[in-house]
């Protein structure tokens, strides 16, 4: 028996280190921009300096004279070979948009909209030439105020739609008016969340290589979703799927940025098709801010009715979601609004709920999914109201939550907004958080500081996250986005294992998770498993990574595949030795006899027979040592996860500076395959939420100019301002899969903004000041204090 600590059967749940990390740490990673090809040329884009303008004329005779220039193309050149796209999800009733082309056609619709593509031998030459492209614009009135987007005075961006409203949903359930009438306490507030963006350190990047000789399109793209892009490029450029290959090499962060279709990337593919040679496009940081998708730009008005005993009676909520000029393709771009209206009050099962959400078109950058879509907003709305209600009633904020959560025995629980929750562990989360943070002591400490005049605050935020989305998320609405994932696993002649799957790696550790599950089932050492992901020529078809599904859906597909291969191995060995397969098992790379604890045959000897020595195999039996299985979560729209976060801050009223002292997270993601990877991924998520709470915002002028499109002006969290983050777990496995894992990729983000928001407002209490707008910058704090004075 193998008693080493790395015994394979113990691998699921172990903090296994990522073997593939070494290559990245040592600078040997291979990201798209690191790839060089013969005859590779480079593209730079001329982007609109206006938020909204008619394009009257484009001249590039001077630009064509620049050394190294190969080709310059306009919107119509790409439109001639690329079908337009429209990001409508048909199951979202009333959703509207218009066809969208890779490059602007007759109108520029946002500051940064790509208008002309300039191709040259080097990027520097392409940029030189781009400066000489002359475009005559007639500026038009931009639509840049979300709250006024639906006013009759505001111009309509797409006259054929007759409105700037992309999508609206209302809910009116239960006795809302009565609840407010009977409430002991009504908390009402207006909240504003800041438009921000993903800021992956590796910008968007693509190389397209169309080989005209055999009409093959080969693409290297920094993407989360190779198979989605496979369908997209095939469909829109009219190239058979069999002639398209998407490879995603190392991906330098994604967070939902790299699941969308971008005009500049589509134009890069188009240019390669027109030229018949490889073309590279890597967004620089300045154009990333202008052209990456934005997110979380909401205006909210919310009210909560609470009884004197501290029971939440009803919630009313009105939300406006800003967008870009088009619905985003192919995921719609209104998922934030969908999630906000679904999830306000959801953790507490609030049944008297009146809500409206409206997503409106704007002359701003394209808009869509960013990690933890909509959940941080729903959490902020609910948790800020709760914290104030508890304070007003003089109740302990944790007990208040516990007394209002969906009862532990009520699962599965159907929300009035539609989705059903399979199972949560909210009550345990609160109990464990109280211990983890030593709340009673911390409260005393906070109050001691307060007595000394130091403004310290503690804030909580209970959060729900969705994971493992079913096809009701996208496919039901007509989008060609797979909700299933597939794995293929083979036993190789030397006894090692080859595993490939449709999930993708962008740093979260998918490769290690795949290897852990495979090695556990097949009882081989981790080093004996080779995992290949992110190549549509190598990997089976599937969804890739979005919505926290890599481990929960991809992992289950891998588990089922490995189990099927195990069964085939046992049956093959049983056949060779005339034994019953049920008497056999696997251990340390051998088939063993369970009754005698004896090794029967090694994987290598078995595989050699299957591949090299058919003469020894009984006639009529074919060993199948390559197996594929698929999995899709079909029981719920999504599998909910839950948790609670706490933030402890100190605030300087003179400077408005907020010091984050510590942060705690309790999260339940069901079965944890690798805590080492999960916990730091949660911390990274927490920090993204802190960025939204304190620093990050894309600021637009009244004319729709993006005013802070650089890392100098747009602040992101850096190490020195960030606190240590304590992570703990509660546990409720999902029954939607045998693995029992729920998605863990996003929960950190879901609750951290609200926890920090509540902590800051707690710190401000002695001054009787309340801030209600994210990001909470020092200037806003000082302003709020001064207004009070």
């Amino acid at each position: 028996m193998n008693n080493s600590s790395n015994a394979p059967h113990e691998l699921i749940g172990k903090p296994v280190i990522r073997q593939e990390l070494r290559r990245l740490l040592e600078g040997k990673g291979c990201y798209v921009d690191d790839i060089q090809l013969p005859r590779l040329c480079h593209v730079a884009f001329v982007r609109s300096p206006h938020a909204h303008a008619k394009i009257l004329d484009i001249r590039f005779d001077q630009a064509m004279k620049v050394n190294g220039v190969i080709k310059i193309v306009k919107g119509e050149d790409i439109a001639a070979i690329c079908k337009p796209y429209m990001g409508i999800l048909s199951h979202l009733e009333g959703m509207k948009s218009v066809p969208h082309f890779p490059l602007a056609m007759d109108r520029a619709m946002w500051h940064g909209h790509p208008v002309v593509a300039v191709v040259a031998q080097t990027r520097a030459q392409a940029e030189d030439a781009a400066e000489l492209v002359e475009i005559d614009y007639e500026p038009l009135t931009p639509v840049v105020d979300e709250e006024l987007a639906l006013d009759s005075q505001t111009p309509i961006l797409h006259p054929e739609l007759g409105t700037n409203l992309c999508w609206e949903r209302t809910i009116d359930e239960g006795e809302v008016d009565l609840a407010f009438k009977n409430a002991a306490v009504v908390i009402e507030e207006k909240l504003r969340t800041g438009r921000h963006t993903h800021v992956t350190l590796e910008p968007r990047a693509i190389i397209a290589n169309y080989v005209s000789s055999d009409q093959q399109l080969e693409v290297w793209q920094s993407t989360q979703v190779p198979h989605m892009m496979h369908w997209i490029l095939s469909h829109h450029f009219g190239i058979p799927e069999s002639h398209v290959r998407i490879k995603s090499p190392d991906v330098g962060g994604s967070f939902g940025l790299k699941i969308h279709v971008y005009g500049d990337e589509m134009a890069t593919v188009g240019v390669s098709i027109l030229l018949g040679r490889p073309v590279k496009y890597v967004a620089d940081r300045l154009e990333s801010f202008l052209s990456d998708y934005h997110a979380r730009d909401h205006h909210i008005h919310a009210k909560m009715a609470v009884s004197k005993e501290g029971k939440i009676l009803a919630i009313e909520m009105d939300d406006i979601q800003s967008m870009g000029p088009y619905a985003s393709y192919p995921r719609g771009g209104v998922n934030e609004a969908r999630q906000v209206i679904n999830l306000v009050g959801a953790a507490y099962g609030v049944s008297a709920y009146r809500a409206r959400t409206r997503a409106v078109f704007q002359n701003k950058s394209m808009y869509g999914q960013y990690r933890s879509v909509g959940r941080p907003i729903a959490c902020l709305i609910t948790e800020s109201l709760i914290e104030r209600a508890a304070a007003q009633l003089g109740l302990d904020p944790l007990e208040f939550r516990k007394n209002n959560y969906i009862p532990a025995k009520a699962y599965p629980y159907k929300l009035v907004s539609g989705p059903s929750i399979e199972i949560l562990s909210q009550h345990e989360s609160v109990d464990q958080l109280r211990v983890l943070m030593n709340y009673e002591e911390l409260l005393k400490e906070k109050n001691l500081y307060r007595e000394k005049g130091v403004l310290r605050g503690i804030g909580f935020a209970s959060f729900l996250e969705t994971s493992s989305p079913s096809s009701t998320m996208y496919g039901k609405g007509g989008a060609s986005i797979s909700a299933a994932d597939t794995a293929t696993i083979s036993l190789l002649p030397t006894g090692s294992i080859f595993c490939t799957a449709s999930i993708n790696e962008f740093g979260q550790g998918a490769q290690t998770i795949a290897a852990q599950i495979t090695a556990s089932v097949l009882q081989v050492p981790l080093e004996g498993v080779r995992v290949v992901l992110g190549d549509t020529d190598a990997s089976p078809y599937g969804g890739g990574n979005y919505g926290s599904r890599g481990t929960s859906i991809g992992g289950e597909a891998i588990l089922q595949t490995a189990k099927a291969l195990k069964q085939n191995i046992l049956e093959f060995a049983a056949k060779l030795f005339s034994l019953d397969p049920s008497t056999l098992g696997l251990q340390d790379g051998y088939v063993i006899r369970l009754d005698q604890h004896q090794q029967l045959i090694s994987f290598e000897d078995l595989a050699r027979q299957a591949y090299f020595n058919h003469e020894k195999i009984p006639k009529g039996f074919t060993p199948e040592l390559t197996v594929s299985r698929s999995f899709a979560q079909r029981d719920f729209d999504g599998v909910f996860t839950n948790g609670i976060q706490a933030s402890y801050v100190e605030l300087d009223p003179e400077t408005g500076y907020v010091k984050l002292l510590k942060h705690w997270v309790l999260e339940d993601v069901g079965v944890v395959v690798n805590p080492l990877l999960l916990d730091e991924q949660i911390r990274g998520g927490v920090i993204q939420g802190i960025g939204a709470a304190l620093y990050e915002q894309c600021l637009y002028s009244e004319q729709g100019q993006l005013m802070n499109g650089s890392l100098v002006d747009y602040l992101v969290p850096m190490a020195c301002e960030m606190p240590d983050i304590v992570v703990g777990h509660t546990f409720s496995a999902t029954k939607t899969s045998e693995l029992g894992a729920k998605g863990g990729g996003e929960g950190g983000v879901a609750g951290s903004s609200a926890a920090v928001f509540n902590a800051i407002n707690d710190a401000l209490k002695p001054l009787n000041v309340y801030v209600n707008e994210l990001p909470i910058t020092p200037a806003k704090i000082i302003q709020a204090i001064q207004q009070k004075a």
């Binding site: 740490l25 730091e680 911390r683 650089s710």
Partner: protein, 163 residues
Amino acid sequence: MAQFENQIEVETLINGEVVHRQVSSRMHLGDFLRIEMGLSGLHLGCEHGVCGACTVLVDGLLVRSCLMLAAQIHGCKVQTIEGVVESGAAKQMVDAFQKKNAAQCGFCSPAMILTTLEIAKKSIRPTREQIREAISGNYCRCTGYQAIVDAVEDVFDQKENKQ
């Protein structure tokens, strides 16, 4: 338009190898090392000196290669992650990063390794706050930075255990 096609002669030592080149006067060091020298371990995250992903060592000092012109390295010694790894000097830190899972996508990591190696040269163990301060010129969007601080502390733990 001004023409910047001037070529400038540069003689330098990159990762211990003599390099004698004509470089474009406007090319920044990061582009030169990546495009001309194939040293793709340094990454360009912002090209305006904020993110730190393009960090290299010039005459032993950490610099942002996007804020230096290639022409400025004439007569200097340049070390990139490739050279530092090959010299063996990064092994302990790389081990610690791997052990603590102090990276996810890896795009910031080579620069983070070079930066933390400078911290590790200190004779007195820095506090967690001091480690955070020292890496605060390197942007990481994936981790919570905590694992990176843990990795640096791990290197000091090992140093102290040896003594």
